[in-house]
């Protein structure tokens, strides 16, 4: 992006932001003027709002609070903007559909179909796994504590299956723990599970055939509490982390493998994972389920310190909440992260296991690291290969070089699919190079920018929203935009 272009896009974003400023003030009645205006000074705007400050902790700027024992330390009990009377914030698992239900005499009836699916991990990269109702992970079942559910499971797999309702204290015959408790659901057959739900919290369902689990068969089963959890959150995101081993040239996941080379969040692999977009100052919950066959995931959020407020099974009493930057989520465990989004920007949210930070890592040898060599030369004439170019750069004198992945190519189609999603609008032009494997992005946007990204039809230049955040909250003089990529 040239300087002129940058300036032009700043101006555009600036004017849009100004247009939204009024609406912003009206929306946030209990935190009015909390969102810094496009031209204003972020710090002073936030400081001037009483509701913005909780015992030294600010909803609008990075801060910790005055006392670790305070209820508001690191935003621990700082409420979201949502009123408890509005009920719980809707649960949102990006890229995963919600399973609809029908009511019958006070029973919520869900129809769940175990089946083989093609899941698009990357644009155009359709992997063969098992899931439910055309989706992997399966669609989200969301109910309220106290509901009675009837789940009609029709097996469209070519083999027997079982479905287990993970974490529920239900009558044993409906537990789905394979033939310990029931006969298999044969291909084409239907089995009905009906039980009352007295629990609240984060649950999930999955096949109880080991390899079917490894092959992707899992889905959320969220139970909203009758009494809304305190403090209320504005966002309730759900992310399912999974590992697969898919050989080169292949699309079928080898569930027997003990090593993994493809990683998905809600069935997508970075940079195709959909960012979690929230507004500056909101209270955000992310429920994260690790449904990898063998690997644990230490999950790290940048720019914020979060509270671990729950695991699968139950919410944690506040006295036991733990503030962290990195939470280890074991296999079949789920952690709830809650934080006040007080630091605007695009923040990476990722597994910190090095080998999970990108897909199918390959050794950095061959044409990709050689001067003047390209794979296309080889592909053009298969019968006669080009002579090897053994000339290496001087950097080769460094033992261990290269550690950074070289010669990564992303096709035009790929980039188009990445940028076609509203959630990424205005991110830096090179963001896709940074988000790999088990990585996604938490975008904390001032309200006007949030509306621009999520609700407007405006053309937003790559990098414009990010640059605007730098302009408002950072050090624009020291900022360099991403080089424009040919895409």
């Amino acid at each position: 992006m040239s300087n002129t272009e940058q300036r032009r896009s700043f101006l555009k974003v600036g004017s849009i932001a100004a247009a939204f400023a009024l609406a912003t003030e009206r929306l946030h009645n209990h935190a009015h003027a909390q969102t810094p205006s496009a031209s204003g000074d972020a710090a002073s705007a936030a400081d001037s709002t009483p509701d913005a400050d909780y015992d030294g902790f600010s909803r609008f700027k990075p801060s910790r609070g005055n006392d670790p024992d305070s209820d508001y330390y690191l935003g621990k009990l700082v409420p979201g903007f949502r009123k408890p009377a509005e009920g719980p914030a809707p649960f949102e698992a990006p890229d995963v559909p919600k399973l609809p239900y029908k009511m019958d005499n006070g029973v919520k009836i869900f129809e769940l179909v175990p089946m083989a699916v093609q899941q698009e991990f990357h644009p155009g990269v359709k992997m063969n796994v098992y899931g439910f109702n055309e989706s992997m992970p399966g669609p989200t079942i969301e109910v309220t504590q106290g509901d009675r559910v009837r789940i009609v499971v029709t097996n469209e797999l070519p083999e027997d299956t079982f479905v287990h309702w993970h974490g529920f204290e239900l009558p044993v015959q409906y537990d789905g723990a394979a033939t310990l408790t029931q006969n298999p659901i044969k291909p084409g057959q239907t089995m009905v599970f009906e039980f009352d739900i007295h629990e609240e919290g984060t649950f999930f369902y999955h096949s109880h055939v080991a390899m079917q689990e490894a092959f992707g068969q899992v889905g959320w089963f969220i139970v909203q509490p009758k009494k809304i959890f305190d403090p209320p959150v504005d966002r309730d995101f759900g992310l399912i982390f999974q590992n697969f081993h898919i050989p080169p040239t292949h699309t079928v996941s080898d569930s027997w493998a003990m090593d993994w080379n493809w990683h998905t969040i809600n069935g997508k692999s970075g940079p195709y994972t959909t960012p979690l977009v929230c507004k500056h100052g909101e209270r955000v919950r992310v429920r994260l389920l690790n449904f990898s066959p063998m690997q644990h995931h230490p999950i790290h959020l940048h720019g914020h310190t979060f509270w671990v407020t729950g695991h699968e099974g139950a919410r944690i009493p506040k006295t036991a909440w733990v503030p962290r930057n990195n939470e280890l989520v074991g296999v079949a465990q789920s952690s709830s992260f809650e934080f006040i989004a007080n630091n605007p920007g695009d923040w990476i949210f990722h597994c910190h296991m090095i080998h999970h930070m990108m897909n199918h890592m390959v050794r950095q040898v061959g044409p990709r690291i050689r001067d003047d060599a390209s794979v296309d030369q080889y592909l053009t004439n298969l019968r006669s290969r080009p002579p090897v170019d053994a000339s290496h750069q001087e950097s080769f004198a460094t033992p261990g070089y290269p550690q950074k992945m070289q010669g990564m190519e992303m096709s035009e189609d790929f980039m188009q699919a990445i940028w076609n999603r509203k959630e990424v609008r205005g991110m830096r032009a090179n963001y896709a190079m940074a988000v790999k494997g088990l990585m996604t992005v938490v975008r904390v946007l001032p309200e006007d920018l949030y509306d621009l990204v999520m609700h407007s039809d405006q053309q937003v230049e790559k990098g414009a929203v990010f640059a605007e955040i730098v302009r408002r909250f950072g050090d624009p003089g020291a900022y360099q935009a991403a080089p424009k990529m040919k895409m």
């Binding site: 390959v362 050794r363 040898v365 298969l382 002579p387 190519e409």
Partner: protein, 482 residues
């Protein structure tokens, strides 16, 4: 203890050492400039062939001269070599000369015996009237002529004319020997050339392997011994190229030796792929049994042997030797005449032994025809098996194995481009693809050489002297051929 402590001080694995260097090429690799001539120091000029044979004349006709070579001939196809061989291979001329020699022998065998002139002086010095010595009772000249009976000369000539006919078949066989050998060595040279190209591809892959091993080494992903292994593989690939080059030179030199010219430079050009339909075993056997020049020669020899028997059967019939002349009788003092006739009486020697020998030779030749047929069938069984096996293997390499290897290589390249597979895996597939093409060439060479033998009546050995019409043990050792 000292060596132990020195071993303890070895820096291997204790401090970074650059990877072992790539070995220098073996002797001869530098000369392998693919764009240069095969023998740069021996480039030929004009039509100058120092070892061109002297002109040969038969019956006053000059046997065609050596092929006048253009200076700038680069690639020769099969028909070029066949033309050259037809003109220059000495055994073809030998075979033609042998026909002429048999014809000459037939001429000689049918020549009528010459008359003999005798001077006769009888009783020289006998006393006559007056008791004085006389010049002799009779002095004069006679002429003696052997009259050959029973058509012996005609039979002798027929016998050798039939042997000349045998020589014609043998000359045909020789021509096939030469042409087949030209074809066989042409296809060998062609295959050798393709093998050189593929060995060079494999060398590039080995060079890549050596580079890749060093790249892996720098990443801590290959051990020092693994890097050394890549050097070994590289050097072996280089030696394979040298071997293939040497083999090509040999093939080309053998080819031009059969062709009979001193070509030192040039390339063979053509296609190793057979063009026609595959031959069935039935076709192959019936072809060789019905059209083999060797069998034709054996049958012609049988006809010659029949005449030999007839010839020997008349041998005992005595020739008539008549003599007559005139002289002067000094006693009677007048001119007188003399006459005489002699006939050998076949009392003891009626040529029984030779007749028997000729009859046995005839029967031997009948067995010889059968023996030849069986020998050809036995050889065909072997050649056909080699042909069929090679054809089956080459066809499947063409139809399935090479396309599969190519696709595997291509898919892995695409996968490498998509960052999903390691380069060493791609290299393995590349080597397998090149190697499968090498195997195809090896089997196509066998297909073509065996096909030549099958279609060419199993004849080969184009530089062995053309055989004569008579096998050992035949009646031939007489002053006048009969």
């Amino acid at each position: 203890m000292k060596s132990h402590s020195e071993a303890m001080r070895s820096p291997i694995g204790r401090t970074f050492i650059p990877p072992p260097p790539v070995p220098s090429p073996p002797y001869g690799v530098q000369g392998l400039d693919p764009s240069g001539p095969l023998f740069p120091e021996e480039r030929i000029h004009g039509g100058d062939f120092p070892a061109a044979p002297a002109p040969v004349y038969v019956d006053g006709d000059r046997v065609p001269d050596t092929f006048a070579m253009e200076a700038e001939v680069q690639g020769y196809d099969l028909s070029d070599f066949l033309t050259l061989a037809a003109r220059n291979n000495p055994t073809i001329r030998q075979a033609r000369l042998q026909i002429s020699a048999q014809t000459a022998k037939a001429l000689q065998a049918g020549l009528y015996p010459n008359p003999t002139i005798n001077y006769i002086g009888e009783q020289i010095g006998v006393d006559v009237e007056g008791d004085k010595d006389s010049p002799g009772e009779f002095q004069g000249m006679t002429v003696r002529q052997r009259f050959v009976t029973a058509g012996k000369l005609k039979l002798s000539r027929e016998k050798y004319m039939r042997r000349a006919h045998v020589s014609e078949h043998l000359a045909m066989a020789q021509q096939f020997r030469v042409c087949n050998d030209v074809r066989i060595h042409f296809f060998r040279a062609l295959a050798a050339r393709e093998k050189v190209q593929l060995r060079k591809e494999l060398l590039k892959a080995a060079e890549d392997g050596a580079v890749t091993a060093r790249e892996l080494y720098n990443l801590g992903q290959a051990t020092r011994p693994a890097v050394r292994k890549s050097s070994i593989a590289l050097q072996r690939a280089r030696l394979d190229v040298l071997t293939a080059e040497n083999h090509y030179r040999e093939s080309f030199r053998r080819l031009v030796a059969i062709v009979g010219v001193d070509l030192t430079d040039g390339l063979v050009s053509g296609d190793l792929m057979p063009e026609g339909e595959p031959i069935s075993y039935r076709e192959a056997v019936s072809l060789v049994l019905s059209e083999s020049p060797e069998l034709a020669a054996a049958r012609a020899k049988l006809a010659a042997d029949r005449v030999t028997v007839r010839r020997e059967q008349v041998e005992w019939i005595p020739d008539i030797v008549a003599e007559g002349g005139a002289g002067y009788n000094f006693e009677a003092k007048e001119t007188t005449a003399a006459a005489g006739v002699s006939i050998e009486l076949p009392i003891f020697d009626r040529n029984q032994g030779t007749i028997r020998q000729a009859q046995l030779d005839l029967r031997r030749q009948q067995e010889e025809i059968r023996r030849t047929e069986l020998m050809l069938q036995q050889e065909m069984a072997n050649i056909y098996q080699q042909y069929l096996t090679a054809l089956q293997i080459a066809s499947e390499y063409d139809r399935v194995i090479i396309p599969e290897a190519k696709l595997a290589y291509q898919e892995l390249l695409q996968s490498y481009k998509a960052n999903r597979v390691d380069w060493p895996t791609v290299l393995d597939a590349q080597v397998e693809y090149f190697d499968s093409r090498l195997t195809r060439v090896q089997y196509l060479e066998q297909v073509r050489t065996n096909e030549v033998l099958i279609r060419g009546y199993l004849l080969h050995g184009g530089l062995m002297a053309a055989p004569g019409p008579t096998p050992p043990g035949h009646i031939d050792a007489v002053a006048k051929p009969r």
